[in-house]
């Protein structure tokens, strides 16, 4: 290998390092002696994803707004799962951060590991199930939002076909599909739901293609459990309805966007930060829905008739006061077997491990 090709490789390596180092920069130059509470965030995606990470960052901004001078927040975005995340979390912990939110399922083990090494730092892990004395977990009951959205969809569909762009067949996603169809069929027994799996959380092109395929097959209301606004945009173009995911996606389809299920982490993040300040923070698990404000609905589309809005609002309020549940028996699975008896409700345990379709879903769950 000659000299100038070495120079070239050197340049290439410098470029790569410059890019990668941006990941580690955030928390390093942190001073602890200013008396402020320091809160750190680890994000899996870019803030600009307009979905999952975007909403977590809104929660971070809410802490700054609510507590102002008393806190200082930092974040590191696009942190890949695995050793990298452990390094980033460890760095946050060692540089004087008091409270660290790790906002994706894949950070579970690294968070627990780092938490062991830093017993004085408080950790909060989203969507996981492993806890310790200084590690709490939290997640949202997004299926409550799907219940309200499903009611609206059942009323708005003309073709009686709901299209569902899905990511991966995990309980979280299957629970969403079931909540949707149960709600839709409660107001319109003829509704069917068609599911297309795109095997990705985020691929705008593929999400759009799946949306088009569903529309071509007769769907006139589109749900998604993927993170880009592409399906909403397709719905707008094709003149059908759509429901936004994770954040308000109205601007991508002003006519099509019926409402969206918003993950609102702000109240939880502010409350937990205050708890650390008042020294009342304890570990535990929070699965919040409408009641705690962790799940919200985006403003309803003006095109939804008043009686449908009233129905949706009644369900939302019912979920808050406990009179309505998204999985109210009797519920049958696809084979017709009763899985939740009349008068009963699905337990959280069943919801968390949900791996079957309820009656009314087309096709079967991929194994």
């Amino acid at each position: 290998m000659n000299k100038s090709s070495l120079i070239g490789i050197g340049l290439a390596v410098v470029l790569i390092i410059a890019l990668l180092s941006s990941v580690g920069q955030g928390p390093s130059e942190k001073a602890k002696d200013d008396g402020k509470l320091s809160v750190g965030f680890v994000y899996v995606g870019p803030i600009g994803d307009h979905g999952w990470t975007y909403e977590h960052n809104e929660g971070r901004l809410a802490i700054e707004k609510a507590l102002g001078e008393k806190v200082k927040t930092t974040y590191v975005e696009k942190v890949p799962y695995g050793p990298d995340s452990e390094r980033v979390i460890g760095k946050l912990a060692s540089s004087g951060t008091d409270l660290i939110f790790t906002t994706s399922f894949g950070y579970m083990d690294p968070t627990i590991k780092v938490a062991k090494k830093y017993p004085n730092v408080k950790f909060e892990h989203a969507t996981g199930y492993k806890r310790s004395d200084n590690t709490a977990t939290y997640s949202g009951r997004f299926y409550e939002g799907r219940h309200v959205a499903g009611l609206i969809a059942g009323k708005m569909t003309k073709t009686n076909t709901i299209g569902y762009v899905a990511s991966f067949p995990i309980p979280e996603v299957i629970r969403g599909i079931n909540a949707t169809i149960l709600a839709a069929r409660s107001v319109n027994p003829d509704v069917k739901i068609k599911v297309i799996w795109v095997s990705s959380w985020f691929d705008p092109g593929k999400e759009a293609d799946a949306a088009k395929a569903l529309i071509d097959q007769g769907a006139d209301v589109l749900f998604q459990h993927t993170d880009s606004p592409a399906p909403v945009q397709v719905a707008e173009k094709r003149g059908i309805w759509a429901l936004g995911q994770a954040s308000d996606m109205r601007q991508f389809g002003p006519k099509a966007h019926l409402t969206a299920i918003i993950d609102d982490w702000a109240p939880y993040y502010v409350a937990r930060t205050k708890a650390v300040m008042n020294k009342t923070w304890t570990s535990g698990d929070t699965w919040g829905g409408f009641k705690s404000g962790m799940v919200r609905m985006a403003p309803y589309n003006k095109a939804i008739p008043a009686d449908v809005v009233a129905l949706a609002e009644k369900a939302r309020k019912g979920i808050i006061d406990g009179s309505v549940h998204a999985f109210q028996g009797p519920i049958k699975d696809q084979a017709g077997k009763v899985v939740v008896k009349a008068g009963e409700r699905a337990s959280d345990k069943m919801l968390l491990g949900m791996n079957f379709y309820v009656e009314g879903v087309d096709g079967s769950i991929p194994k």
């Binding site: 070239g8 995606g45 600009g48 293609d209 395929a213 945009q233 991508f252 991929p366």
Partner: protein
């Protein structure tokens, strides 16, 4: 009787395939000149962000397309300077280019997240565009789709029927011999690299202007790499590359439709299918090992300096 979903499904296939056609045809030209540019993904994403940014700010589709190509070209110029003038390793530089493009596009695109672009105007000839099936498919596309098809014919004609195409292939086959008979090896390669860059840029522009008219980070989602694979499996022939691209796009869309009809096949398997089928078909049509070796440019990936 033709089912209702067929025409829109074919329209979707065309949209899904067009970015691949652009990028693959560009890369064929680059590789035929003996340069391996693995930065297609980076050039595509830069094309996507530039086209979208210009499209949203100026509202002009023409300017947007132009700047999409230009952004790919600028990135290709960096690659050309590093590999041809400084004789850097092409593989490493290409990979760095992809990482660089993904990062830079995220930075540039930051303020454009959440914007929308009204999309490219489609050709609409009164009456003719309304004909069943043929109308919308042949006469109802947007300008970039026609450009992508034209580029295939152009590349085929240029490589096989023109003197400069012959020079380009000579440079790619044996740069020392080409240099000995007086051809400007690095100049020809630079031109090919720049052409490849602007084509990748156009592919990216198609993504952010027509396919999904929005900007989100990493929206190319690996399409640059698929284009690179298509080039090899198409044995460096533009005609086969477009066939491969449409086959890949076609199976991608069909597997989604099959899922929608409720056929119980694992989606992971379905997602594999386009890759699998494209590879199998293209390997079958280029099964003759000797001919395949002949079509691979002999100097692919080798650096050249006149003094050596």
């Amino acid at each position: 009787m033709i089912p209702d979903w067929l025409t829109p499904a074919i329209m979707t296939i065309i949209t899904a395939s067009t970015p691949l056609v652009f990028a693959a045809v560009g890369e064929i030209m680059v590789e035929k000149s003996g340069v391996l540019n693995l930065g297609v993904e980076g050039m595509m994403i830069m094309g996507a962000v530039a086209a979208f940014a210009i499209g949203v700010t100026t509202g002009s589709a023409t300017l947007a397309i132009l700047f999409g190509a230009l952004a790919g070209l600028v990135l290709a110029l960096i690659f050309g300077l590093l590999t041809l003038n400084l004789r850097a390793n092409q593989v490493a530089t290409g990979l760095a280019l992809t990482l660089f493009g993904l990062g830079l596009s995220a930075l540039i695109g930051h303020s454009f997240v959440g914007e929308t672009f009204s999309g490219l105007p489609k050709l609409d000839i009164p009456f003719i565009s309304k004909l069943p099936i043929i109308g919308p498919l042949v006469f109802g596309q947007d300008v970039l789709v026609y450009m992508s098809v034209a580029s295939v014919f152009f590349a085929g004609w240029f490589l096989n029927k023109t003197r400069w195409g012959l020079v380009l292939r000579a440079v790619g086959e044996n740069h020392d011999a080409a240099h000995a008979i007086g051809h400007p090896v690095n100049f020809v390669r630079m031109m090919a690299v720049l052409f490849g860059g602007s084509m990748a840029g156009l592919g990216g522009a198609y993504l952010s202007l027509a396919y999904t008219p929005l900007w989100v980070e990493n929206m190319t989602a690996g399409r640059g790499w698929i284009a690179l694979a298509l080039v090899v499996f198409a044995s460096w022939r533009p005609g086969r590359a477009i066939f491969g691209a449409y086959l890949f796009g076609g199976i991608t869309i069909l597997q989604l439709h099959v899922q929608g009809f409720g056929v119980a096949i694992a989606p992971q398997l379905m997602s594999m299918l386009p890759y699998l089928a494209t590879i199998v078909v293209l390997v079958l049509i280029s099964h003759d090992v000797n001919r395949f070796k002949l079509s691979a440019p002999a100097c692919l990936g080798k650096t050249f300096h006149p003094s050596q």
